[in-house]
């Protein structure tokens, strides 16, 4: 989905605020949320793909105005409610107020790509173009590379395709590649010519130019 989480290349966020000698967790509730999320993973109540997509489905204003571990809390609560492990009524009764959850998945609109063939389609040095895909479900193809030309610099083997794994228990593995994009290809002439971005992309995101 073209969600607010897909931040690469956006302007207007201002400086990066680096905290000196930062603690691993800033508040006790962050430790709790980290542990709860680990527990639901150990209980197989989520996988990394469903979890990331649950974060992506957050209301965009809530996403940008809340911290990283509040994203985790919202996603974990959302998945547990969607699976029927807890109810929103139970959560809100216990919290004594509103429990914001992510927006629902629209599974009827999601198309699931097919697995890769036995051998990878591209090799180191292959020129590729990123397909101009805008799936409504989960994807790991950032918007800023769609339609852009790059060159494969590494072939990493086959991994479960997140676009399927976030929505289905079907096993769908595809080859993943590291693709190098020159700065000018991504950002035009305004950019630094001696900068490149390397992005890891699954096979169905790519095509031959």
């Amino acid at each position: 989905m073209n969600g607010v989480h897909d931040l690469g290349g956006m302007d207007g966020f201002g400086p990066v605020d680096v905290e000196a000698n930062e603690r691993v967790f800033h508040h006790a509730w962050e430790r709790t949320v980290f542990g709860l999320t680990a527990a639901t993973s150990a209980q197989r109540l989520r996988n990394v793909h469903t979890f990331r997509h649950a974060i992506e489905r957050m209301d965009p204003v809530h996403y940008l105005s809340s911290s990283y571990y509040e994203h985790w809390l919202t996603a974990t609560a959302t998945l547990l409610v969607e699976m029927g492990v807890v109810t929103i009524a139970e959560l809100e009764a216990r919290a004594g107020g509103r429990m914001p959850l992510s927006e629902p998945v629209r599974p009827d609109l999601i198309e699931l790509p097919a697995p890769s063939a036995a051998a990878p389609c591209f090799a180191v040095g292959s020129p590729v173009v990123v397909r101009n895909l805008h799936p409504l479900g989960h994807t790991r193809c950032p918007r800023y590379v769609r339609g852009k030309r790059g060159v494969v610099v590494r072939v990493d083997g086959a991994f479960p395709l997140p676009d399927v794994a976030a929505h289905s228990s079907e096993r769908c593995e595809q080859y993943a590649y590291n693709v190098r994009f020159e700065g000018r290809e991504l950002w035009g002439d305004t950019t630094d010519s001696a900068a490149a971005v390397h992005v890891d992309l699954w096979e169905s995101y790519l095509e031959a130019p």
């Binding site: 966020f13 680990a38 809390l73 807890v86 216990r94 900068a195 890891d200």
Partner: protein, 200 residues
């Protein structure tokens, strides 16, 4: 119920997010989905044992042992496992080497993927919208803002961890460190040098 020790010093009412986290923790405990002590056990590993001191040992070893460095750049996961490091978010590690001509920097624009076994959990700035939005678009400008002024002649490579690979930067060994031993060298390697927003 451990994990709330800090709040004993703060009698103020809990914030909404604290209330929500506690509500979920209580419900999952009542339903038998979390055992007493589980959260502390998981979290304490990341507070005490898993952090950038691990990555610094990898870097120092690569600086003193050319054969190790060759293995590290060829297969990061296996070479890092030689020092005993691995685990969640470290299943597929790639180490990218800085040279006089090339500087590497790591990001995850879509979420906050990060090589936990060698760097621990990411700092807030790495997870923040400004870093994730800007480092791919204007890396030289942003690195300069963050205190790393690279000459125009140095190529910058930004690695967006968008799939299963997690990246760590191997910084250049600083000049004048010939007499230092491995432990002294490790002490020179910061977390940010291994992300690529600083140099040792």
């Amino acid at each position: 119920m451990s994990g709330h020790d800090d709040e004993h010093h703060h009698p103020a009412p809990l914030s909404p997010v604290e209330v929500r986290a506690r509500a979920l923790e209580e419900l999952l405990t009542e339903k038998g989905l979390i055992q007493e002590g589980f959260i502390d056990a998981v979290v304490s590993a990341y507070e005490n044992d898993i952090g950038p001191m691990n990555g610094a040992r990898v870097v120092a070893r690569a600086w003193v042992d050319p054969a190790y460095k060759t293995r590290l750049l060829a297969n990061g996961t296996a070479a890092i496992a030689e020092l005993g490091f691995g685990g969640p978010e470290g299943e597929h590690l790639v180490v990218v080497e800085n040279t006089p001509a090339v500087h590497n920097v790591v990001v995850c624009t879509l979420c906050s993927c990060y090589p936990w076994p060698v760097l621990g959990l990411p700092p807030n700035w790495y997870k923040s919208p400004p870093y994730r939005a800007r480092i791919v678009r204007e890396p030289r400008v942003l690195l300069r803002e963050m205190g790393l002024d690279l000459p125009e002649s140095v190529e910058i490579r930004v690695w967006d961890s968008s799939a299963e690979i997690r990246y760590m930067v191997l910084p250049e060994r600083p000049a004048g460190t010939e007499g230092k031993n491995e432990a002294e060298l490790a002490a020179l390697v910061s977390r940010d040098a291994m992300i690529g927003t600083a140099r040792p």
